[in-house]
């Protein structure tokens, strides 16, 4: 028997690390130098502008700019945060969209934990969304009625994105299954739907929903603007998601279908118990990609006059007292969108890791 040798140390010292990673050859060394120069040249001024010289409290942008240093005017966000978060919602009722926003965050947090992935989670969502509806609309339990024309700000963005994903995702699974169906009518319907919706810009769908659709409804029947935009968003995202799900379905080997059939499982049970769990798992990266796209696409509802986060900011900077704070406003908007999208991205990566490593870890615990 040969002796088992200890593995040689693999961790190099800092000098070796620098040489191996940053200065391994001339082009690499050149890139390192250029990158260092850019960081030295632009990072400190940026940090100064954002933090050190920034004005955190001031009554107007003129006051901001009058200060000796020329930092960012975050006072704008401070002064306008209620408007940015809740739009034109009645000021004295702002606690309602506030609680609604917190409810959304709580729903996300609960759903993120796999040990809560039980059938009752659907009921929790149903209750949560109903409660959010009651809070936002009011008209019951002594809450004053607030028509959804006045909803706005971050909470509207969350409503559009959350309802969008919650309804578009199941719809997309049905469309993807339908497109693979052996029934010609079902298959044709799904193919036509997906290709038609995917081939049209979301903006034109939103316009159609807001301008064209009322023309076809009998007079007297009105579907409100928010609902129409929400439906347009759901239908649009479902078409995209359907193709993502179909990609996942196609990656499942034929043998899986055959084994499930041979056991006597019906089509529905084969799909729900065997095929979808595998197909959706491998589709996580492109699914989350599309979810992130959907979240950001909600900002397009400004074109039909819905008051989402971005339009609230835009309206706020149009105020004469706050002229010239566009950079700060859009940086802030980017930061909010980024926070949600990055959270989704990080979560999906963790989920992927858990789902591929979890089984092994669990099995090792058992042995």
């Amino acid at each position: 028997m040969s002796a088992v040798l200890p593995r040689p140390p693999v961790l190099p010292g800092p000098i070796e690390w620098l040489r191996a990673n940053l200065f391994s050859n001339i082009p690499n060394a050149l890139l390192t130098v250029v990158a260092l120069y850019l960081i030295w040249r632009y990072l400190p001024p940026f940090v100064n502008w954002v933090f050190i010289d920034a004005i955190w409290r001031a009554p107007s942008s003129t006051a901001c700019r009058a200060a000796a240093e020329a930092g960012a005017c975050w006072a704008f966000i401070d002064e306008k945060h209620r408007f940015i978060l809740f739009g034109t919602y009645p000021f004295e009722e702002h606690w309602r969209p506030g609680v609604a926003t917190l409810l959304f965050l709580a729903l996300y947090a609960v759903s993120a934990m796999r040990r809560f992935w039980r059938p009752w989670l659907a009921l929790v969502w149903l209750a949560g969304l109903a409660l959010i509806g009651i809070l936002m609309w009011g008209g019951v339990f002594g809450l004053s009625y607030v028509e959804n024309e006045r909803w706005g700000g971050l909470v509207l963005t969350l409503i559009l994105a959350t309802f969008g994903i919650v309804f578009a995702f199941p719809l997309s699974i049905l469309l993807a299954l339908g497109r693979r169906s052996e029934m010609p009518v079902v298959r044709s319907f799904c193919v036509i739907y997906i290709e038609l919706i995917r081939g049209v810009p979301l903006i034109s769908l939103l316009f159609m929903a807001s301008v064209v659709m009322p023309l076809f409804l009998p007079s007297g029947v009105t579907v409100d603007k928010l609902l129409r935009a929400q439906i347009a968003l759901i239908l649009f995202s479902a078409a995209y998601l359907a193709e993502v799900v179909r990609g996942g379905l196609q990656a499942i080997p034929r043998g899986q279908y055959e084994a499930a059939e041979a056991l006597g499982l019906s089509f529905g049970k084969r799909t729900v118990l065997i095929i979808l769990p595998q197909a959706l798992k491998i589709s996580i990266p492109p699914l989350v990609n599309t979810f992130i796209g959907l979240f950001k696409d909600t900002s397009l509802v400004v074109i039909i006059g819905l008051f989402d986060l971005l339009l609230a900011l835009k309206t706020a900077i149009n105020e004469p007292a706050w002229s010239g704070v566009g950079v700060e406003a859009y940086l802030f908007a980017s930061l909010v969108y980024f926070a949600f999208c990055y959270a989704m991205s990080q979560y999906s990566q963790r989920l992927e890791r858990d789902l591929s490593r979890g089984p092994v870890a669990r099995a090792l615990k058992d042995t």
């Binding site: 080997p253 043998g255 899986q256 055959e258 084994a259 499930a260 059939e261 041979a262 056991l263 006597g264 499982l265 019906s266 049970k269 118990l273 065997i274 769990p277 595998q278 798992k281 089984p359 092994v360 669990r362 099995a363 058992d366 042995t367």
Partner: protein, 254 residues
Amino acid sequence: MNDAARPAPQGPMIEIQGVSKWFGDFQALKNVSLRVGKGQKFVVCGPSGSGKSTMIRLINRLERHESGRIMVDGIEVADDVKAIEAIRREVGMVFQSFNLFPHLTALENLTLAPIWVRRTSKQAAEDLAMELLVRVHIPEQAHKYPGQLSGGQQQRVAIARALAMRPKVMLFDEPTSALDPEMIKEVLDVMIELAEEGMTMVVVTHEMGFARTVADNIVFMDQGEIVETGTPKDFFAAPKTDRAKLFLSQILGH
């Protein structure tokens, strides 16, 4: 093998009458007929592309036959979905590539169909599953996922999964062809034990040693036809046709 343990053949479990099957313009099966009685063990062999896999896949409707008639335990294999599901409940199948469900543990692979198809309680399904895992000699792997098992272990789990439905017939489609040589024996041993317990079996395989030990009948197929049927003793000692002689010389010659 002990003759007393083998029940006498009664009415047919599987009856294939004049069945033909085409893939596009290619005729994969040509007017094939076969009767498998209760408790009988048939080994189907033949060169690749001879239609042997296709034939057993017709029995549980993984493939659809275009003409002829197939009866399984008195039920006709036809387009009726309910009838097909009824047949599939009674017919277990083991595949060349195992086809275990990778997202479920070995135990969950075994309990899934009993719970969702037979409506067995979870407890009863798990008890039966553990019993079957003992029978295929891997109870200690119950909570592992297929990806953590060797090929031989996976195939034994696959056999146990089929048995968990308490089938009346077991179909094996080249069950050892995808295995490393040292794992073939552990799978064949399980199949031999199953045969000794009286299960009706149709096995597509090139394992001629297994065929000698277990089969009551060898079916030799070539180019979509059943060329020869006989007891292992007759078939191996004195094949009647040149095609069978050639085939035997090729697989036994080395």
